[in-house]
C-alpha cells in the first residue's frame, strides 16, 4: 500500500550548537536551542524572515505550513522506510538555492529541499555521507 505524506522532498543534515571544524561558527539556530546531538530539524517556514530566505515557493513547493520553534515533524527515509520525529530548532534549508534538485535511491526520487535534520536525527534514518535522501514529511 502506498504511504501518503504531507510533504515529499529532499532531506539533508546540518550541524548546530557547539561544534568542531567549519561548524564551530554555526550557533544554536533561529530558535536558540539547536544542537547537533539532539533530535531536531530546520524548517523552511518558521517566520516571515525565515521564509524570505528559504523561499520554497520559488521552486514550486507551495503550502509549506508556518510552524514555530518546538513543533514536531516526522521524517521518513523513502529509501528504507526508517522514520525519526524531531522538533524545529532552526530556519532552513535554503530551498531556493537548489531548485529542481533531486535525490534518488533506486527508482525513488524526491525534488527540492524541504527539511534539514541534525546529525543525531539524520543518523537515525540514514548515513551522514549519503548527504541527501528522498523523504516524506508529516506532523510528528
Amino acid at each position: 500500500m502506498d504511504v501518503m505524506y504531507g510533504l515529499v522532498g529532499e532531506a539533508s543534515w546540518f550541524c548546530c550548537g557547539n561544534a568542531w571544524g567549519p561548524c564551530a561558527s554555526t550557533g544554536t539556530g533561529a530558535c536558540g536551542t539547536c544542537h547537533s546531538g539532539n533530535f531536531q530539524h530546520a524548517w523552511t517556514n518558521t517566520s516571515d524572515a525565515c521564509y524570505a530566505i528559504t523561499r520554497p515557493d520559488n521552486c514550486g513547493v507551495t503550502g509549506v505550513s508556518r510552524r514555530g520553534c518546538g513543533f514536531r515533524h516526522a521524517t521518513t527515509n523513502l529509501c528504507n522506510g526508517s522514520r525519526v520525529v524531531t522538533s524545529i530548532a532552526d530556519c532552513g534549508p535554503r530551498t531556493r538555492s537548489f531548485c529542481g534538485e533531486r535525490a534518488c535511491c533506486g527508482g525513488t526520487c524526491a525534488s527540492n529541499r524541504v527539511i534539514d535534520l541534525t546529525p543525531a536525527a539524520f543518523t537515525r534514518i540514514a548515513s551522514l555521507n549519503a548527504g541527501l535522501i528522498p523523504a516524506g514529511i508529516d506532523v510528528g
Partner: protein
C-alpha cells in the same frame, strides 16, 4: 537484513570482546545502510540522543576513543570489528586519530561506553558558494568563512541535479551555491571534497 535487536546484541557483545568480525559477517552486512531500522524512538524530539556522540578525539587506547564533546561532555567510544568507519571514504578503525572530529552512533552500554556501530570522522556537510575554481580545488564561502576544498583524484565527484555523481567538475560555476560533503583537515579551514551537490 539483520534485525535491529540482533545488531544491538551483536554490537554489545563485540564491544565486550565476546565476539567479532567473523560472527558479524556470518549474520550479514553491517554496513551503515543496514543499520536504519524502524525501531521505537527512545529520546523525545528535541532531546539529546544517548546513542549518539560528537566531538573531538582527545585520546585513544587501542580501540577505545576518548572524545571531548563540543558541549564539554566526555565520551568513551568503543570501536569494534563491526564498526563502520567513514573518513572521506569508507575506511578502517585504525584511521581514527587524535584531533579528528567525529559523529558516532551506536549503543550506550551500562558502563557508559558507546559501542559504535558507525563513526564518521571529520565529516562536514556545507552549504557554500563557489568563489573560484582551480586545478587543485575550490575556494568556498561558507557564510563568510573562507574554506578551501581540495579535489582528491579518484574520490571527489559531483552530482548535478540528482544525477549519479561523476568525476567531471567542469559544470560547476563560480557564484553558485552548492552543497559539499567532505572531510575536514583538523586544525585548518580546509577540507577534502567527497561529493559536491549542484542544482541547475
Amino acid at each position: 537484513m539483520t534485525s535491529t535487536m540482533d545488531r544491538r546484541a551483536l554490537l554489545t557483545r563485540a564491544a565486550l570482546g565476546a565476539t567479532g568480525l567473523v560472527a558479524a559477517s556470518a549474520m550479514g552486512s553491517l554496513a551503515p545502510e543496514a543499520a536504519f531500522a524502524t525501531s521505537a524512538q527512545a529520546p523525545d524530539p528535541g532531546a539529546p540522543d544517548p546513542n549518539f556522540a560528537e566531538g573531538l578525539i582527545t585520546g585513544r587506547n587501542q580501540d577505545l576513543l576518548q572524545v571531548k564533546g563540543s558541549d564539554g561532555r566526555l565520551h568513551k567510544i568503543q570501536l569494534t570489528g563491526v564498526t563502520s568507519i567513514w573518513k572521506l571514504r569508507p575506511t578502517t578503525i585504525d584511521q581514527a586519530m587524535i584531533g579528528d572530529g567525529l559523529y558516532a552512533r551506536g549503543v550506550k552500554l551500562p558502563n557508559g561506553v558507546l559501542a559504535a556501530e558507525s563513526v564518521w570522522l571529520n565529516i562536514v556537510n556545507l552549504d557554500v558558494m563557489i568563489n573560484s575554481i582551480s586545478r587543485t580545488g575550490l575556494n568556498l564561502d561558507h557564510f563568510g568563512q573562507k574554506i578551501f576544498g581540495h579535489v582528491q583524484e579518484g574520490v571527489t565527484a559531483a552530482a548535478y541535479n540528482g544525477t549519479p555523481a561523476i568525476s567531471d567538475l567542469s559544470l560547476l560555476k563560480v557564484g553558485r551555491h552548492v552543497q559539499v560533503i567532505g572531510a575536514w583537515r583538523p586544525g585548518t579551514s580546509e577540507i577534502d571534497i567527497a561529493t559536491i551537490y549542484a542544482a541547475n
